[in-house]
Every structure is written in structure tokens, then in C-alpha cells.
């Protein structure tokens, strides 16, 4: 309990106690992250569709803007009396102009709606195509040298905050996640492969069977105090990788760290013939490419740590 004082209270201390209480209730299963996610999803169902930013969207928005026919003609005038005349004329012609404008607006609005619908269907097709791209099979397409995340434990515990929720996606069987939790980080993980997430959960870790992109889509904006990405960053097709970075920028709190652990292309190429490497859609990106993508997506202080087979990119969500 706080002490009532004339000098006020310590916001930082009270909030720390509140965060401890939340962590305790979460750990007790009273209010699991899945419920918060369900709440986000429940509200998102009612958000109007068609709000992604792209040139097409901008064009539709412009058309939408132009679809409304305004019959309220400006009537002001510098000349004495002319404004009054204009106002009388506008009022007298309103019945006629309104009739025409309503029909024109209805037609234009219907056209814009059709365009929006077309755009949404096109976007759906694009997403399906990205999914259908020959993604690498987990077992067969793993790098010849399995990524050793253990080498990045020190980096992660040094960069990640001890307050606020930190997500590791994909967390695999939870080795890195375990190290983070042991180091006092309020971390949880997601992992799409059932057996691995089961192993992590069996070890007492908070790990959820989920796809990283889907999970991040459902997380509230600015919710995460830190994010570690691994595995998925190698496996996903390019459009999904970019989507992943966009989501990371949206869901991290301002100033929160992102650590991206990616397989170095050279390590992957050792096990795969060069031709396949060049044509493969899931080819690991070069750290410089990741750095560019992060820099273009509201991340600052991007730095690359070379670890041989893997590289860790550290960045900070701009404030």
C-alpha cells in the first residue's frame, strides 16, 4: 500500500509493483497472453477492411475523396452584395443540384467500393501466392550447420529489458527462451511446430503454438518491450519477411530493442548447390539486406554482430 503524502507518490515504484502483480497473475494462468490476444482479435474483426498502405490504396483513397460531390458552392465574395446573391442562388438551385449530385455520388461511391473489393481480392491472391512459394521444408532445408543460438544469449540478456513483455519467435524447444527467463527477462515464445512448442511448454516455459506473423498481427501496438526473431527470418518468403519487420516496428514500444538472429547465406549455401541457392525463394538474406530493411522500417541504431554461421542484428524501435 502506498503512503499518502503531500508530496505525491512514486509513479515508477507503483508501476513496478503493478507490473509484478501482472506477471504474477499471468504466471498463475489467471490472465494468459492468449486472452489478451483474443481480445485484440475480437476487436479487429470489426475494423473496416482495406487499410493497408500502397500506391493502389492511395489511388482508391483519392477516388473515394473525389466521389463525394459537394453542392455547397462557396459564396463569399469581396464585392458587396455578391455574396448574398450567390447564397440566394445556391439555395434556389439546391433541389436540382442535390438530385443530380446524389446520383453521381452514389455511382462514384459504388465504383470505389468495387475497386476496394477488387484490391482486397488481389491482396488475398498475393498473400496466397507468397504462401504457395516453395518454402523450404524444416528438416531438409535447415542450414548444414544448425544455428547456435546459445552464442547470442549474452547479447540478448544484455540488450533486453527486465521490465515488460519480450517475445521470442520462433522459440523452438525453448533453449534461448529458458536462458532469457532465467536471466529475469519477462519472456514468452511462439513456435509453429507442435512437437517443439510442446517440449518448451513441458519445460515450464510460456510458449504458444503459433505462427510468428499471425501472432504479431494480433499483439497490441507498442505492447512488446523487446523482440527476438529467429528461425522464421530464414524460412519465410520475402513478402512475409517484410511483413514480419513491419509488424515488429508496429508492436514494439518506442525505444524497445529488436534482436534478429539470421542464418548467414554462406552457411546455408555450403549444403546446397549454387543454382538452387540463387533460385530458392526462402534463401537467407544477407545481413546488409536485413540492416537496410530494418533501417527503412522505423528502426534505428542497427548493428550487425557476426557469429560465423549466424548473424545477429540489433536495432531499436525509433521513439
Amino acid at each position: 500500500m502506498s503512503e499518502a503524502t503531500g508530496a505525491g507518490f512514486d509513479n515508477e515504484r507503483v508501476m513496478a509493483e503493478i507490473r509484478d502483480e501482472v506477471a504474477r497473475r499471468r504466471a498463475a494462468g489467471d490472465f494468459p497472453p492468449s486472452l489478451e490476444r483474443e481480445l485484440d482479435l475480437a476487436f479487429d474483426r470489426y475494423v473496416p477492411a482495406g487499410s493497408v498502405s500502397s500506391d493502389f490504396t492511395e489511388a482508391v483513397k483519392a477516388a473515394d475523396r473525389a466521389a463525394y460531390i459537394n453542392v455547397a458552392v462557396p459564396t463569399e465574395s469581396e464585392k458587396p452584395g455578391v455574396g448574398e446573391v450567390k447564397r440566394v442562388l445556391r439555395k434556389a438551385m439546391a433541389w436540382y443540384l442535390n438530385y443530380l449530385a446524389q446520383q453521381t455520388t452514389a455511382f462514384a461511391t459504388a465504383s470505389v467500393r468495387a475497386m476496394r473489393s477488387l484490391g482486397e481480392r488481389l491482396e488475398m491472391v498475393e498473400e496466397q501466392l507468397a504462401e504457395l512459394a516453395p518454402a523450404r521444408d524444416d528438416a531438409a532445408d535447415r542450414p548444414a550447420v544448425a544455428p547456435d543460438l546459445g552464442r547470442w544469449v549474452g547479447l540478448c540478456t544484455e540488450r533486453l529489458p527486465s521490465r515488460g513483455r519480450v517475445l521470442h519467435a520462433e522459440c523452438g524447444s525453448g533453449a534461448l527462451l529458458r536462458s532469457l527467463v532465467d536471466a529475469g527477462v519477462d519472456a514468452y515464445g511462439v513456435e509453429p511446430r507442435g512437437p517443439l512448442v510442446d517440449a518448451a511448454a513441458a519445460g515450464g516455459l510460456e510458449a504458444w503454438p503459433d505462427d510468428p506473423v499471425e501472432h504479431l498481427s494480433a499483439v497490441a501496438e507498442g505492447y512488446l518491450a523487446g523482440l527476438v526473431l529467429s528461425g522464421c527470418v530464414d524460412r519465410l518468403a520475402l513478402p512475409r519477411q517484410r511483413r514480419l519487420i513491419e509488424l515488429a516496428a508496429a508492436k514494439l514500444a518506442p525505444g524497445a530493442p529488436l534482436i534478429l538472429i539470421a542464418t548467414h547465406p554462406a552457411a546455408w549455401a555450403t549444403a546446397v548447390p549454387p543454382l538452387e541457392v540463387d533460385l530458392a525463394p526462402g534463401r537467407p538474406l544477407h545481413p546488409t539486406t536485413w540492416a537496410h530493411l530494418l533501417g527503412a522500417s522505423r528502426f534505428t541504431d542497427v548493428a550487425v554482430e557476426d557469429g560465423g554461421d549466424t548473424s545477429a542484428l540489433t536495432a531499436r524501435r525509433s521513439g
Binding site: M1, S2, E3, A4, T5, G6, G8, F9, N11, V14, M15, E17, I18, R19, E21, V22, R25, R26, D30, F31, L35, E36, L39, D40, A42, F43, R45, Y46, V47, P48, S51, K61, D64, R65, Y68, P74, T75, E76, S77, G83, G164, R165, A220, G222, Y223, A225, A253
Partner: protein
């Protein structure tokens, strides 16, 4: 001082609008300084019909300055920019369009236009005075070379009205059923994030007390957002827990403030946040998400959140309603903050700004 008059230009002067009331305070202050001052509008509510003139009636006068009260996109901005008089801009902030893009594309476009208009005025205005430091930083980003901050002028005596007895009685009956009453006052609008309050209520009911109630007062800026909010509330089975009161009279609003246990704002964008002062006035402890100008408006008179995950907000509400000492500290801090933002002080601050700018001459 070479100026003989400072006339204000404001897109809309309507009842219960904080910016309209601020403009009336500016007018009385200017007259107190011995200057002539009239208000020119594009739209005026019937209650102010005698106190403002339509802008197309404006006739220039020698030695006059113009001051634009900027809070939204308006054709008045273009008219103002083209006038030959020396100009001041009093900036209250225009909501960033991204909050409305998904909900009201047309409104979002108006906001884009509004922000462009404010930016364009940087080239013609002698000075930009903002109602918060947060807003002043935006003016500087827009390219204003001379800026200052002077808080919104709020006449707190306007909050001192009798509670509407019917509303007060209904709220009292609600209270007797148990569970805390949570209040937020503001337009139903995506940037005010009422949906996050509903999520927090779900968490609170599950974690602490299923009888908790959320009262949302204020009209809607976005019909589609309000519709989504209603469907969300229904989908979560919260019809008995969320009261979307809509626009309310001053007496009804007083009843809501006096009948609540805690005021919670999860708004993501406020240029100032006048309802926070009304909560302080009514002795309500405040929990607020630390966004935009909210931290500087509340000072140390709110439990400031940097994370609005439903579980965190629920725990914060529980802490405030169950910890009498913390509650007392927040209420006392609110009273101190109100004294700092007292009308006499904010008027003195604005007077100093105006005197300095007008003294420097056109």
C-alpha cells in the same frame, strides 16, 4: 504596443467546446489589455450567436492583427493566410490522420489537409503559440520560427455545476450493486482508444471484480468506430458493463464525474486533454496512458502508464481503487495541478506571450 486590435478567427464556436471557451478567454484578455477584439467564425452555435461574426463579414481595420485558433482543417485557414494583417497562430493540434485512415478515410484526408494548412501558415505567421509543449514541438517541425507555449485557458468554475439528479440517482443505484465505476469523457474516436478501455474492463472483470462498470461519455467523431465499439461490447457480453452515454449536458457530466471511482484515459493522442482537469476538479484519481501531451497536462497528478495491455490497465485500476493512500495522493496531486493551471495563471501566461509578440510589432 502598435496594435490596436487582435481579432480571432476560429472555424467553429460551439457550446462545451474547450477551444471555443479558450477563444472567449483570449478575447476577454485582449480587451483587458486595451485592445479591440472580435471573433470571426465559419460556424457558430446558437448560444454564441451574439458573440461572433461570420468571417465573410470581416472588414480589415488599421493596426489590427489576426489570430487563428487552429484545431482542424478549414477553408478559413486559406482565407486567413491571404489576409494582409500580421498573424498569430494559436495551435491546439490537429489529430494525426493515421488514427482515422482505417475508419473514416474522408476525415483522415481532411486531417491531412488541416495539418498542411497549419504548416503553410508557418510562412505567414509572426508567431505560433501552442497550448502544450507537445504542440509547440509540432509547430517547430512545421517550420514556425517563433513559437511559445501557453496552456489552454480553462475556467474551472464551469465545472462547478449541479449534478443532474436523474443521472446521479441512476449512477448511485449502479454503485450500490458493487464494483468500481470507471469513467472516460471524450469523443468516441479511434485516437481516444475507447476499445482499449473495453479490453481493460474485460480483464478487470475477469481478474478482480465482475461487477465493474465503464462509462463512456461524449459524442462520436467516427460513426464506423462507434459502431465497431458497440459490436465489440456486445460480442464480449458487456451490455450490462459498458454505458455509452453519448453527448451529455453539463449537469449529466458532473453526475458522471462525481459518481465514478476512477478516471482512466488510454487516449493515444491529445493536444492538451481538458477532461483530465475536470476529473481533477471532481476529486477523481486519474490513470492515464502517457501519450502526446497527456503527461505534461497531468503533471504528477496521474498514475501514468507506458503499457496499456489489458492486464496492466486492470491491475492499475485495481491498485487505485483498493489503495486508499494512493488514491488520496492522486486526488491531492490533482488539486495541486489544478492550482497550477488555474485560470488566473494561464491568463497571465497568455498575456505575457501576447504582450511580447505585439510589442515586437508587425
Amino acid at each position: 504596443m502598435s496594435a490596436s486590435a487582435v481579432n480571432q478567427v476560429i472555424p467553429s464556436l460551439v457550446r462545451w467546446d474547450a477551444i471555443g471557451n479558450h477563444s472567449l478567454q483570449v478575447q476577454s484578455l485582449l480587451r483587458e489589455m486595451g485592445l479591440e477584439s472580435e471573433i470571426y467564425v465559419n460556424d457558430v452555435g446558437p448560444e454564441y450567436a451574439g458573440q461572433a461574426h461570420f468571417f465573410d463579414r470581416y472588414r480589415g481595420q488599421s493596426g489590427a492583427w489576426l489570430m487563428y485558433q487552429a484545431s482542424t482543417g478549414s477553408r478559413l485557414a486559406s482565407w486567413f493566410a491571404q489576409r494582409p494583417e500580421p498573424k498569430l497562430v494559436n495551435y491546439h493540434n490537429v489529430t494525426p490522420p493515421q488514427f482515422f485512415e482505417r475508419w473514416e478515410p474522408r476525415l483522415a484526408d481532411e486531417m491531412v489537409d488541416g495539418r498542411h494548412q497549419i504548416a503553410k501558415l508557418a510562412g505567414v505567421a509572426r508567431h505560433g503559440v501552442a497550448v502544450s509543449r507537445y504542440n509547440e514541438e509540432e509547430l517547430i517541425e512545421f517550420g514556425y520560427r517563433s513559437t511559445s507555449t501557453s496552456p489552454l485557458m480553462v475556467d474551472m468554475s464551469r465545472f462547478d455545476v449541479a449534478s443532474d439528479p436523474t443521472t446521479a440517482g441512476w449512477l448511485d443505484r449502479q454503485r450500490q450493486r458493487g464494483g468500481p465505476g470507471i469513467l472516460f469523457h471524450g469523443r468516441i474516436s479511434p485516437n481516444k482508444a475507447q476499445h482499449d478501455l473495453v479490453k481493460a474492463l474485460v480483464a478487470y472483470r475477469r481478474l478482480y471484480d465482475p461487477r465493474a462498470r465503464l462509462h463512456l461519455t461524449g459524442g462520436a467523431s467516427s460513426g464506423s468506430y462507434r459502431y465497431a465499439l458497440r459490436r465489440f461490447i456486445a460480442g464480449e457480453g458487456l451490455w450490462d458493463g459498458v454505458d455509452m452515454a453519448g453527448p451529455v449536458s453539463s449537469g449529466e457530466l458532473a453526475a458522471y464525474f462525481r459518481g465514478a471511482d476512477v478516471y482512466v484515459s488510454l487516449s493515444e493522442h491529445e493536444g492538451f486533454g481538458a477532461p483530465l482537469l475536470e476529473a481533477m476538479f471532481n476529486g477523481l484519481p486519474i490513470i492515464a496512458f502517457a501519450s502526446s501531451a497527456v503527461p505534461e497536462t497531468v503533471g504528477d497528478a496521474a498514475l501514468l502508464l507506458t503499457d496499456k495491455a489489458p492486464g496492466v490497465v486492470a491491475a492499475a485500476i485495481h491498485r487505485v481503487v483498493s489503495d486508499p493512500a494512493l488514491r488520496a495522493s492522486l486526488v491531492a496531486a490533482g488539486k495541486r495541478r489544478l492550482a497550477e493551471l488555474d485560470l488566473s495563471r494561464t491568463r497571465a501566461s497568455m498575456r505575457a506571450v501576447l504582450a511580447k509578440v505585439l510589442e515586437a510589432g508587425p
